[in-house]
């Protein structure tokens, strides 16, 4: 009886090991964001996201599309990268085993806030995308404007308009 239970235990462990191995075996690409520490900036900045993709499988991988995915940590919603000028994917025709390929996206910080960034790669014919680790960064608001600078215009313009119109109207010769 002891031998039977031992056999069942060995067999079930083998099943678990083979299942998890299958999990490990299907991740054939590794994605890393290299410029994680350099992404913090101010609205209006243009920043380059540097990443790399490595083929960690034993076979060459072909027809890979990589792109960025950005989400807003405050609203918990994805961000339309077209607004940030970084919506385009990068295509890699083929990557050999152990080969590393650099990836770059120029991104325009258009809105202040806290964001999470990942790089995603999709291999043709493979339904499961590969995802990098998440990088967090902050975009600070750009403050060129000081209400005190706008105040002279806000107060002065209506006064100038009234004076100007009054001067024009008063030039007319009318007997009352």
């Amino acid at each position: 009886m002891k031998k039977f239970y031992l056999l069942v235990l060995i067999l079930s462990n083998m099943l678990v090991i083979s299942y998890t191995s299958a999990q490990v075996v299907s991740s054939s690409l590794m994605l890393n964001i290299l410029s994680s520490n350099e992404l913090n900036g101010t609205a209006g900045d243009y920043v380059t996201v540097q990443a790399q993709i490595k083929n960690i499988s034993t076979k060459p991988q072909s027809n890979i599309v990589t792109y960025l995915s950005l989400s807003d940590n405050d609203t918990k919603l994805p961000v339309d990268l077209e607004d940030w000028s970084a919506e385009k994917g990068q295509f890699i025709g083929s990557i050999d085993p152990n080969q590393t390929f650099p990836l770059n996206w120029k991104i325009h910080f258009v809105k202040a806030g806290s964001y999470s960034l990942t790089v995603i790669a999709i291999i043709e014919g493979n339904s499961r995308p590969e995802i990098s680790t998440i990088t967090h960064f902050t975009v600070l608001a750009k403050k060129n404007l000081n209400p005190a600078h706008v105040l002279p215009v806000a107060l002065g313009t209506p006064i100038v308009v009234i004076i100007f119109l009054f001067l024009i109207a008063s030039r007319r010769k009318v007997d009352y």
Binding site: K173, V174, D175, Y176
Partner: protein, 240 residues
Amino acid sequence: MNNIISAKNITKSYGPQLAVDNLTLEIKEGEFFGFLGPNGAGKTTTIRMLTGILKPSKGEISLQGQSQNGNNNNAGAIGVVPESRGFYEWMTGKEYLEFFAELYNVVDVEKTVSKLLNQVGLTSRANSTIKTYSRGMKQRLGLARALVNSPKILFLDEPTLGLDPQGQEDIQKLLKNLNQQGVTIFYSSHLLTEVSDLCTRIAIINRGSLVAEGSMAELQSQMSTPGQSLKDIFLSLTKE
């Protein structure tokens, strides 16, 4: 003398309603021509066709030998005091005349306007807004506007309507002067005494049709009873 105004068989209908029916008028240069008719007879419609504001449904109109069918090709040669008496009330009398003088490309606008204001007796109110003018003053201003381009032909549609006797007298004097200077005047009115005093020839229209035309003597000779007044002639020709 040449015909300065020629209207041949002009007709104007608005749908089934006939406003002017086959009217023919020939007016010679320098005439003071009276155009009489009861209310709704078609006087204003006729004037609007002659001045180019309305296009006749049928017929031909020419002024100074030039066609005048629904266009204002002769605008430079005619002056009109129309039935509609609208003014730009925010303007002063002077500004109003200056505006029209510019539209007519008058050469010396300031001099012309000053002369006209003097002619119609509005010099003292030249810089007052038209809004402050009396009815009579507006009538005189309308006449001044009609004279801004020194027209050869003057069309007047009830120019003394609503004026007091003094006002009527002033306008009549002015018109006589103009006629003596060679301006042809087409004078539409239903005030018979005025027409008989001023006009050398008279036409009477009723329900869109010409019922009589000629000098006072000629009109009297057409009647069965000789020596009738214009009032009697008018009433007998236009009675229902």
